[in-house]
């Protein structure tokens, strides 16, 4: 189809090479000789490649500009709070690929480091972008392409293990679906928050105490459009498959929809400042929780561990059963390979063995 359209657009008269004599060809210049052949397919392919690379570059640059303006947008907070903001002194981020970027901050009391991870829409690859957009409408397993930022704060100060999060109501079911730690929490509306946010937390006490006046002031109804969740957690994002993976690692995860609006970035700066100060308060023991609450949390964790232990035990049992079945099969195979006399002998032996067992049992009973 494309080729026919091309033919219509560029009707090139191609002289047949067969009609030329050797002498004529010898007399032609290189350009003339090249013109003898039909190059349209090559031109089309080349044009397509050039166009694709052009789109690739445009998407790539656009993604990069988004990342840069976001990172510069949160600079006020992070460079005030941290000794080092950026992956090195003069580099703000590392480009892992056209859609993955990461950045870093370190050098602050009570905090080991901050990892900032970007997962952007595949703008560089137009085809993937369009396909993902279409598929996301028809299936739930493909997500619509979007620009996600995850700010992961690793605190170094010690405080209790708990999960408590403020989650945007927009897409909160997905948040629960993709994050193991959120699916351990109870969801509740609260007057403390704008009505576009909910709490997902293990205990009411914790969520109330973590929502400081400052945080309340900084969150508005509109912030739910770009703040997906702010979560304090010690449990992993992925569902643990072994008990080792359940080992508590305290983290604060702020997941965002990438925004470059000035107002949003201002809110974000304030929210980040507030979160850092909450971490300080937790580490200094200014915010602390009732022992009953903490006991309850430990109990729910134990329940999860038990679940995993049961799964592991079941797996072990299954493996054992399989092995036994295999042994039996081998025995039967051996029997089949023996001559009839040998088979008889073996059967007799087995019968004797069984009898002995029975006798033993009877003796015990008596």
């Amino acid at each position: 189809m494309i080729f026919e359209a091309l033919t219509k657009l560029f009707p090139i008269a191609v002289p047949e090479t067969g009609s030329l004599t050797l002498e004529e060809v010898n007399n032609m210049t290189i350009l003339q000789r090249l013109k003898l052949r039909d190059w349209r397919l090559e031109i089309f392919t080349l044009g397509f490649i050039i166009l694709f690379s052009l789109f690739f570059k445009i998407g790539d640059i656009y993604n990069q500009s988004k990342v840069t303006s976001f990172l510069n947008g949160i600079k006020p907070s992070l460079s005030r709070q941290f000794f080092q903001y950026g992956v090195s002194k003069d580099k703000l981020y590392i480009k892992d690929s056209s859609e993955n970027y990461s950045s870093y901050a370190t050098g602050r009391l009570n905090i080991f480091n901050v990892n900032i991870k970007f997962q952007l829409a595949p703008r560089q690859n137009v085809f993937v972008w369009i396909l993902e957009t279409i598929f996301s409408f028809f299936t739930t397993s493909v997500l619509p392409p979007s620009d996600k930022v995850e700010i992961i704060i690793h605190p170094s100060g010690k405080y209790d293990n708990f999960i408590s999060a403020i989650v945007s109501k927009i897409g909160m079911n997905d948040a629960r679906k993709f994050n193991y730690f959120l699916s351990l929490c109870k969801t509740s509306d609260s007057k403390n928050l704008p009505n576009s946010f909910v709490y997902m937390s293990e205990s009411n006490e914790i969520q109330e105490k973590l929502t400081t006046e400052e945080l309340k002031r900084n969150l508005s109804v509109e912030s739910a459009n770009f703040i997906k969740y702010i979560a304090f957690t010690d449990q992993p994002i992925d569902h643990p498959e072994s008990i080792r993976e359940m080992k508590p690692i305290r983290k604060v995860i702020i997941q965002l929809e990438l925004t470059t609006k000035k107002k949003d970035l201002e809110t974000l700066n304030n929210v980040l400042d507030t979160i850092f100060s909450i971490i300080d308060k937790l580490s200094d023991g200014v915010i602390n929780f009732k022992p009953e609450t903490l006991k309850k949390i430990v109990k729910t964790r134990d329940l999860e561990v038990e679940k995993l232990q049961k799964i592991e035990q079941d797996l072990k049992n299954e493996r054992l059963a399989e092995e036994q079945a295999k042994l039996k099969r081998q025995e039967r195979e051996q029997l089949r390979n023996m001559s009839s006399e040998e088979q008889l002998k073996a059967e007799k032996k087995a019968a004797e063995r069984r009898q002995k067992k029975m006798q033993k049992k009877q003796r015990i009973k008596m």
Partner: protein
């Protein structure tokens, strides 16, 4: 009238109508096609209006319910769903819109490839009828209050498998089961 009963009556009537029409005649065929397409467009418009209404209402009330386990789709345990009225409604509308596209694809195959024209007549009216009868349209287009049968989450008609096995399918909304499922740690499972 019950929607199932009226569906059957409609089907019988449309069958008679389809019998009377001579599909060999190109003008009749053209009009049938136009009729079918315009019915589908009308259905789509109804849903588009509903979508617009949902978005402008922006009802962020939280609703919770428990989805039953569905071994067919690899979901072994009941899963708690925590969502908002807006999101729930949008999901309902989107699945209806998806339905239009699937029926269009089916009809395209039946009509263009298999050369059947009868289903075109039947599907055109029944599509728009079922759209107007759906819960989500009742709430947002006709302004019926969302109580009783229209209380979210909507009750689902039992599937073929469930009605055969008599298993207790369906959504649960009672407080106890929601609370249990909500904190069961069913999230973050890698699907590949």
């Amino acid at each position: 009238m019950n929607s199932a009963v009226s569906n059957i009556i409609l089907m019988l009537v449309m069958m008679q109508v389809a019998k009377k029409l001579n599909f060999e005649d190109p003008t009749i065929l053209l009009y049938t096609r136009i009729f079918y397409i315009s019915c589908q467009v009308a259905t789509f418009l109804v849903f588009a209006i509903v979508r617009f209404r949902i978005n402008s209402k922006n009802d962020l009330t939280t609703i919770k319910y428990v989805e039953p386990a569905n071994p067919m789709s690899g979901q072994t345990e009941p899963r708690a769903v925590v969502t908002t009225v807006k999101e729930y409604d949008l999901q309902q509308v989107n699945s209806q819109i998806k339905g239009i596209f699937t029926s269009l694809a089916m009809m395209g195959f039946m009509h263009l490839y298999m050369k059947y024209t009868n289903p075109l007549v039947m599907q055109s009216v029944s599509g728009i009828k079922s759209a107007l009868e759906s819960n989500i349209v009742k709430i947002h287009l006709f302004g019926t209050p969302a109580t009783g049968d229209l209380k979210r989450p909507f009750k689902q008609a039992p599937g073929i498998l469930e009605s055969l096995t008599g298993a207790a399918g369906g959504l649960q909304t009672d407080k106890q089961s929601v609370e249990n499922a909500e904190t069961a740690g069913a999230g973050g499972i890698k699907q590949d």
